[in-house]
Symmetry: C2
């Protein structure tokens, strides 16, 4: 057993119903850590360009990391890795809540699922052991109700990770949800559809108290004690107002998507901000396991048409995509939409993207009320937006196509529809506009899973935070392209480490200019390793390269490292970035060069050798 | 009869073998002039998105303009308009020589060909009359030999316009050639394949001396007399060294394509320049009919492996695409390749693009010697390049696919091949690199027929000439994007007029800052119209919009107004523009706005009304 790991990874073949244990050598763990790093390695070895993402041959990997299950703050997430049915390439999504920590405390580091069950099942995990159980009675349940029903049957000391009807229906924007009405989501890349394709409804973990071994427990405790207060202090605003904190600032600089990315300002932004949420629907804060920040919140709608909404609040991304991008400024409606997405198990980002796309297509007469099953899908029509969420989840009318993801939907609809979808590699842009922060253009274009704001997290370093440890003692000008290629590459390496340790990136706000130093220290104290900062970052680069190589294997090249024309050539004219368009080509060339990739975005042989991938 | 026109357009239905006359009202001629303007109008009315470019339903239009057949200098060209089998959208190509002038002097303004003959035929035109004649004996002849054989049969006072074996074989990069071994080509968009698809081998014109009516003959004569000497003087260098004049300068600023657009300099450039050509292979100058410049040249190779080459010299574009872009610096080999393309009836630009693409694919192991029928297609291998021309024309081995055009070939080959093709809308980039002159990026992206250097001719206005008449009293900085959108739009309007009057754009070097004024004057003197400069330019804008609307009808939108990633993101590192990449997105948005097109590049209703298109 290696420090930080219990050394037990489960391998579950749902076709044969076989469960076995798997361990990885210390060498492998040192090279790939866990989370998306280890997941990418397994995915690379077990699938290829011919793998049907929704076929039994796909592999669905749930991973934690060495700090999960310890008391290290904010490293309690889990990562899902699979071949994405949305992009046909490398897919990953991660989630907070308590499930990751509890999986680890049940003695399991990760689960590798292959095959397909002939009927609905769930996986039950308790004290290092797992069994496959019949889930016929649970099939069709939404994620909130499922959690309640499982608790009725199994007791309250369980944590569920599951799909809702969207995943069952193989909706390609379906999420994997955990922690019931706390509504935590591994949202992106259609991971929920992969789970659905395997007839796997849930993974239920019985809470345990197994703790991963820690090589230097006292020193770790001291470091955490030393940091916890500082982190709390540095993240106060986030803690006070949640992820939608400062939404008005985000809007003011032109970073918020408005009207399917066509407009640069959203005049009623104050109606949907984190501050407004706190004043109105807020019930209490929510902390994920191990978290010392508490950016989550619970809300309740007490009256009006959306009365009954209760549980997880809409996050920033949800407000951006289902709110402003649909011209909707009714926070209660957005809370309702959020709950619906959570219950159905839908990615709120891609759902918002699908609906804002459909609203524009409807306005332009490209799709009709009849195709929408009688819905008048006008801009700002919250009621219609909510109806569309139902249709997407149950695959009704045009909701069927939208559930295939905007790229496929637009291809089927044809013509101008293809100009209205805003995605990279098939994954819809999240709610940060690259026209407002140029590094984000490159980050979206080059992220392995498609348009992803968390892959580089670089927009936070433009007109925001700094990181002297990576050579950025000051925040960078958001409208320059100079130096952005390096910034994005360096941050992608670091963020790949967060995703492999399965940590929360918000801790950067807490650790500030000692982020890397501190995380390396924690990792070493837990594992007993003696990794330097340089070695640490090199692991990140290895993982980024591995994901890239997987994408190359799936046929992706430079032609896929692009941005939609709306972002590249459409000036919005209004707001704080109304006249700005990023020059992606320039940054992309510099980025490939810095990465040691050729002009097609393919890692050179010497690069792969350098990172010991070949 | 209207001044400048004989009022006789032939309509030839090759299916029914019916020939009829057609006339256009003065209103229509004032709106569309002739050439590509009138051709676009006919194409728009008679074909649509379902038209198979190589089916009998396509229309193949040969057009002259009102100044053709007069003594107006350099307005003796003809224009071919059709739906392109290469792009699936608006196609046009034009050519000089004497055929256009002679068609007019045989009393014909244009020919509209529909249907398909059941066996090979040619069209014989003499003194306002046309007949369809059997061409079975001529099928398979190359364009030089065909010209000789037709002259043997019909006498020396004929001019031929025809296809070679490439057009017969439906090679999608086949040209229409005229004037036998003088090798004049309507090269682009695969117009030769359309002619082949109709089983039409040639259009033979018996020289006549019918002169189009001129309303003010004396004033016209005086103006021409006044200008001829000045034009000659202002174009002396072009006349002395041909279109390859100053090739070393072109190379020095990074405008020359090298090694399939990957490198920025071509060290042995002096071996293939116009100056070297004059010193070595040059026999004599060649003037098209009505021309006072004489940029054409005849060459002869007296010895060595390419002995026997005799006739048209390779032009600048040919030297760029079959020379430097294939790393070939053997002028005699290029002359041989040029003659072969002419004889087979192949566009030298797209043939060069296809071979340079194949050379790179071969080097990278994407295609093999076996696929190439045993050819070792190494960079700079002139012998292999020449063998590939044969294979493309006769559709042998990989030559078959290359004859489908690089876009289709790369799609079939798949994978990385798609990254190596350098085209817009399926039409290969000609030999001017947009990384060296930024307006050219926009011009290539927005030209209706795909990547076209003549559509805006704007690269001449960056680091070259000026035009106060359009608001550019000084040449523009080539590396700025400021003002380039307007420049390109204005020049496209003007060039559309050149293509509708079927004039030679080199006369701009002769007329300088009085270009527009003088052409309008000539047009009015010939036709008796009283068109102002503003009205004139508005006709140009109308024609540009009409071509665009045709493309929109064929399904093209903003997604097609793009550049290949190699141009957008690959810095060449060497030469006079080694570090430069144009920001297309920025220019494209400005261009659409200036044009009155929406963000998808679709003309707004008010724009179409303004230009009386709807």
């Amino acid at each position: 057993m290696i420090g930080g790991y219990m050394g037990r990874f489960l391998r579950v073949d749902l076709t044969t119903q076989q469960i076995s244990n798997q361990a990885f050598s210390e060498e492998v763990l040192k090279k790939f850590i866990g989370g998306s790093g280890l997941g990418a390695k397994i995915l690379f070895e077990e699938t290829n360009e011919t793998t049907n993402p929704l076929g039994p041959e796909n592999v669905l990997i749930f991973m934690t990391g060495p700090l999960v299950g310890t008391n290290v703050p904010n490293f309690g997430r889990y990562q899902v890795v699979t071949k994405s049915p949305l992009t046909g390439a490398y897919g990953e999504a991660n989630s907070g809540g308590t499930w990751g920590t509890m999986l680890k405390r049940a003695g399991i580091d990760g689960i590798i699922i292959t095959g397909k069950s002939s009927s609905p099942v769930y996986l039950y995990i308790e004290n290092k052991k797992a069994e496959i159980r019949d889930a016929s009675n649970y099939w069709g349940e939404d994620t909130y109700d499922l959690d309640l029903k499982l608790k009725e049957e199994l007791g309250n000391d369980i944590v569920t990770c599951c799909i809702g009807p969207a995943g069952e229906n193989l909706v390609r924007i379906a999420a994997i949800m955990n922690d019931g009405k706390d509504g935590r989501a591994a949202g992106r890349c259609g991971v929920g559809a992969v789970m659905g394709s395997k007839n796997l409804k849930a993974i239920v973990v019985k809470k345990g108290n197994l703790r991963p071994p820690i090589v230097e427990p006292e020193k770790l405790k001291e470091s955490i004690r030393n940091w916890a207060g500082k982190i709390r202090k540095n993240t106060e605003l986030l803690s006070d107002y949640g992820t939608a904190v400062g939404l008005e600032t985000v809007e003011a600089i032109g970073d918020l998507p408005v009207k399917n990315w066509t407009e640069g300002s959203f005049p009623s932004v104050e109606k949907v901000s984190g501050e407004m949420l706190k004043k109105t629907l807020f019930v209490k804060k929510y902390h994920c396991a191990q978290c010392v920040i508490g950016c989550g919140r619970e809300v309740k709608v007490e009256s009006g048409p959306y009365r009954g909404v209760e549980g997880a609040a809409p996050e920033y991304e949800t407000i951006g995509m289902l709110g402003s991008n649909c011209l909707i400024d009714d926070l209660e409606a957005i809370a309702k939409a959020n709950e619906l997405c959570n219950r159905y198990g839908l990615d709120t980002i891609s759902t918002g993207a699908a609906i804002s796309f459909a609203m524009e297509a409807y306005e332009r007469g490209i799709i009709t009320e009849r195709q929408l099953g009688g819905i008048q899908l006008d801009w700002g029509n919250a009621e219609a937006m909510i109806k569309m969420i139902h249709k997407i989840a149950v695959r009704e009318d045009l909701g069927y196509l939208l559930g295939e993801g905007t790229r496929r939907a637009a291809e089927k609809i044809g013509g101008l529809a293809q100009e209205l979808v805003v995605h990279v590699k098939g994954l819809d842009l999240p709610a940060h506009d690259p026209r407002a922060k140029y590094s984000n253009a490159l980050a979206y274009a080059t992220s392995a899973r498609g348009a992803c704001h968390l892959n580089a997290f670089s927009y936070e370093f433009e007109d925001g935070i700094s990181m002297a440890e990576l050579g950025y003692p000051e925040t960078l000008d958001r409208f320059t392209i100079r130096g952005k290629a390096q910034l994005v590459a360096k941050l992608q390496d670091l963020m790949a480490l967060f995703d492999s340790l399965t940590g929360c990136k918000f801790i950067i706000f807490g650790l500030g200019d000692e982020t890397i130093k501190t995380i390396v220290e924690w990792l070493n104290l837990v594992t007993g390793w003696h990794i330097t900062r340089e070695e640490f970052l090199e692991i990140g680069a290895r993982i980024v390269n591995l994901k890239k190589v997987y994408n190359v294997k799936c046929g992706l090249t430079r032609k896929d490292d692009v941005l939609p024309y709306r972002i590249l050539s459409h000036k919005r004219g209004t707001g704080g970035a109304g006249d700005n368009l990023p020059h992606l080509g320039e940054m992309l060339g510099q980025y490939y060069e810095y990465r040691g990739w050729d002009e097609f975005g393919i890692p050179r042989e010497e690069t792969l050798k350098k990172y010991e991938i070949i």
